[in-house]
């Protein structure tokens, strides 16, 4: 009885407040919001998880799996976390993030004994993995080179387009992938570099191009670098797979080192998502090489101004894991071993997949499976063929035909090869 009175009093109060009138006209705020399209990459894993078929295979999103198809937490990471737990100070990092983590990270990209590090010419901040580093750079580019555009390779990680678009930097594309050879379209790439207006901004994948796995050779990189010099272009490197491509971080940084030798003042996004398996921790770094220390200080201060209204300061935990590992020689060696192990397993799976396809008598060439490098194989399959793989064989990948080799195991490579053969043999 009492509660009913209370309820009706409540209603009466609400009506008398004049709000009842307002309710009708308030219904329209979000009803025009369109449902957004699913992210093409992340949507694949969602679909995979929903599938109950026992033979299902996920070669969609690029997260590493061991040979049992299980996600991996590196031993060096477990040990670092054991050391950190109980003593981690959770105070705010500075806006530019953990200085210790950034210093170690720059060594990986620029070289252990880099002159640029010694001369303090690199403006660098901790960023939210590779995405965050690219976004900070895009916003910085918009602010300080407002008339510039960004040249993005075809194809590229789909989120690159979203990042520069949301930063309101106009985009152009440059030729990269050669469909017929499933390799690099070097001639067209060089044409595009030459034809771009002087001083254009280019986004380059430092190694293990995503999604194609096609990287320029060392000589090709030197030619690209030379042409960039002639044209006075700005090179921004997205390096998400250092160590993961060849197994050797120094080797994977070769393109960057070539550009540095040739005198380019580069920008670089680095990520620990894959090579340290820190995906969800969102640890990365954005660096911009400047003419001198004074300029680096100014640029860093401006990068911080962009970070502040976005997230204030970056998360501490992942950065602590990274700096714990990289500043301890034993842990760092363990990490290098584990990264090589992951890269080697992937290289092994490439060999197996190609062997299987050739042994099945596939009429198509599969050399590119072992020529391509890094986590992904650009199979050359059409969206329709991919749909058949998914619908008939419960194999999940992105519709551009990109196979995440990290999801291939000794246990599923045979099944995968058979399915690919079935959907491609008549083409």
């Amino acid at each position: 009885m009492a509660s009913r009175t209370a309820i009706s009093c409540g209603i009466a109060r609400r009506l008398s407040s004049g709000y009842g009138f307002a309710t009708r006209s308030m219904s329209s705020w979000w009803t025009d919001v369109e449902p957004a399209a699913k992210d093409p990459i992340l949507g694949v894993t969602e679909a995979f998880l929903a599938d109950t078929h026992p033979d299902k295979v996920n070669v969609g999103v690029g997260a590493y799996r061991d040979d049992d198809g299980k996600p991996v937490v590196l031993e060096c990471v477990r040990e670092a976390e054991r050391r950190i737990a109980g003593s981690e100070n959770m105070e705010y990092l500075p806006m530019g993030g953990s200085v210790k983590m950034v210093d170690e990270t720059l060594k990986l990209a620029y070289g252990e004994n880099s002159e640029f590090i010694k001369e303090k010419r690199i403006a660098a901040v901790q960023a939210l993995s590779g995405t965050g580093a690219c976004r900070l750079f895009a916003e910085f580019q918009k602010r300080f080179q407002p008339d510039s555009q960004i040249y993005i390779p075809i194809p590229t990680w789909s989120n690159h387009h979203n990042i520069w678009r949301d930063a309101q930097v106009p985009q152009r594309t440059f030729h990269y992938y050669h469909a017929e050879t499933r390799g690099l379209d070097f001639a067209s790439l060089m044409d595009d570099v030459k034809n771009a207006p002087n001083g254009s901004f280019f986004m380059l994948h430092a190694c293990a191009h995503n999604p194609t796995g096609v990287d320029p050779t060392e000589e090709q990189w030197r030619e690209i670098s030379y042409q960039f010099k002639v044209k006075n272009h700005f090179a921004f490197f997205d390096m998400a797979y250092q160590g993961f491509a060849s197994g050797d971080p120094e080797r994977d940084a070769k393109a960057i080192r070539i550009f540095l030798e040739d005198g380019h003042l580069i920008g670089c996004a680095q990520s620990y998502a894959k090579n340290m398996g820190l995906y969800g921790q969102r640890v990365g770094c954005l660096s911009i090489l400047c003419e001198d220390e004074l300029q680096a200080v100014a640029v860093k201060s401006q990068l911080q101004q962009i970070a502040r209204p976005m997230y204030s300061n970056p998360p501490v935990h992942g950065a602590l894991v990274v700096s714990t590992i990289l500043s301890d020689p034993t842990l760092k060696n363990l990490w290098l071993k584990e990264v090589k192990g992951m890269a080697d397993r992937i290289i092994g799976m490439r060999t197996k997949l190609r062997e299987n396809l050739e042994n099945l008598g596939s009429p198509l060439p599969w050399e590119h499976v072992t020529k391509q490098i890094g986590m992904f194989c650009y199979s050359g399959m059409t969206p329709e063929q991919v749909d058949r793989l998914t619908n008939e064989y419960h194999i999940y990948m992105t519709r551009n035909g990109r196979i995440s080799m990290a999801g291939v195991t000794t246990g599923n490579v045979g099944y995968l090869a058979k399915a690919i053969h079935e959907v491609t043999k008549s083409s």
């Binding site: 407040s17 006209s25 025009d32 003042l265 995906y279 401006q302």
Partner: protein, 447 residues
């Protein structure tokens, strides 16, 4: 004859030799073994004209404090809690959650979904709205884990810029220094409404109502859910009800910033009353939550943005659009801090323990207010000072002007923001006399 380099056909090897010879010609050997290209070789940086940005006023206070060698120095700048011993505090319950996580061998570190940890989102919504909230029971929320309060505000603002018909947000005067930057960077235009009355050190209620009444219908209004930063001045329950009616009558869209739930009064429910009042009337609103202070998770960057919608269907569409804002910003949020929060909120004992530790922090701050007020009163410092105990939350808006603040810093080594805001959390019993002396000196020697 000038050779146009772009037309010279060279083999890759020739080109490489050419590059090296250019190095040599410009005399760039720093020692006999390595080739180091000189600055002259590079060409100017495209960013050569980038000017140094000014120090962030709030974070800059700690920078200056750290540089000061005086043993008397006191940091009342940034709003991070300190114990009586002046040490940062990691809550016991947080340490326990940490241990549970590190010992869980099956715990993975994969990418979270774009909107973050699902359990975290549900628990956070319950925390701020109350588990009986009609919005929760009717499943018409869109919640995304974001990077603390800042990240939640930014994602919300970007969403509004893309999908809301009004691009103006009204913020109180004064407000947290980062608020206008967040909204402007997101593409909103920022206007203000009167809030603080310096003559009473309290709420300028009349000015607030006038300014919101004059706002165009549909405009967005930023509201501090409790413990207004920097003033510590909150509306009373009755004033909130009045504000709510005005906002709803003009179809203004409330955007709550809840950074101190539990920290202000010591009670999670009390500190959520303003938000719950708005949600109870069935209207739309946005809420940004932060666990930085109330769980001491500052650097882990844990927070949530909740958009309260009219129907489940609309909420689903809204959530899908939130993802499009987040993906090009940082793809998905950091897992560690959210895992700690979820571990605590899920477990009844840990939740209870958290509430006790939270109340202890709030009580210590309330005690500091009392002690400072008593000390200032005892010195007979000119002016009225009861706002020190009337204001609520981490900060006291002393009413000191920037000259007086500079004086306190240079003469007494006391660090605070130039608007006269002191962080009570940075104060301890043994430092109260020193602070009271400084205030007294500042007020009596500088107008």
């Amino acid at each position: 004859m000038d050779i146009d380099r772009t037309n010279v056909i060279m083999s890759p090897l020739e080109r490489r030799l050419n590059t090296i010879s250019r190095h040599l010609i410009q005399g760039c050997f720093s020692d006999s073994t390595s080739i180091v290209a000189s600055p002259a070789f590079y060409g100017a940086s495209v960013f050569q004209n980038v000017a140094q940005a000014p120090e962030d006023p709030i974070l800059g206070v700690t920078v200056a404090f750290n540089k000061d060698p005086s043993p008397l120095k006191l940091n009342l700048g940034v709003g991070a809690y300190r114990t009586e011993e002046g040490k940062p505090l990691v809550l016991n319950v947080v340490r326990r959650a940490e241990q549970l996580l590190v010992n869980d061998l099956y715990r993975k570190k994969e990418y979270l979904p774009i909107t973050g940890l699902s359990d975290f989102n549900k628990l956070s919504a319950k925390l701020i709205l109350g588990s009986e909230s009609p919005a929760i029971l009717e499943n018409r929320l869109a919640t995304a884990q974001c990077l603390s309060g800042t990240g939640s505000l930014r994602v919300g603002a970007e969403f509004l810029t893309k999908h809301y018909h009004q691009r103006t947000i009204y913020i109180p005067v004064p407000t947290w220094g980062n608020h206008p930057k967040i909204f402007m960077m997101a593409g909103l235009s920022v206007k203000t409404y009167r809030y603080y009355d310096p003559t009473t050190h309290g709420l300028n209620f009349k000015g607030l109502l006038e300014d919101l009444s004059a706002a165009p219908n549909g405009a967005i209004v930023l509201l501090h859910a409790c413990a207004h930063n920097p003033t510590g001045v909150d509306p009373t329950q009755d004033q909130w009800e009045h504000i709510r009616q005005l906002i709803r009558s003009k179809n203004l869209l409330p955007f709550f910033d809840s950074a101190y739930q539990g920290f202000a009064s010591g009670s999670l429910d009390t500190d959520a009353q303003s938000v719950r009042m708005f949600v109870a009337d069935g209207g739309d609103c946005l809420v940004a939550q932060s666990y930085a202070k109330n769980m001491g998770l500052y650097g882990e960057r844990v927070g949530a943005l909740t958009i309260v919608c009219k129907t489940t269907d609309v909420a689903r569409k809204v959530e899908s659009q939130m993802k499009l804002v987040i993906r090009p910003m940082y793809s998905n949020p950091p897992i560690h801090g959210a895992s700690i929060v979820t571990t605590i909120l899920k477990d009844r004992n840990m939740f209870y323990e958290w509430k006790l530790e939270l109340k202890a922090m709030a009580d210590r701050i309330i005690s500091m207010r009392r002690q400072l007020y008593d000390a200032v009163s005892a010195r007979g410092t000119p002016g009225t000072w009861n706002h020190i105990i009337k204001q609520i939350g981490m900060f006291t808006f002393t009413g000191l002007n920037s000259k007086q603040v500079s004086f306190m810093t240079s003469e007494y080594h006391i660090y605070l923001t130039s608007d006269g805001r002191i962080s009570m959390a940075g104060l301890s019993s043994d430092k109260v006399p020193h602070l009271a002396d400084a205030i007294h000196a500042a007020v009596t020697s500088i107008a």
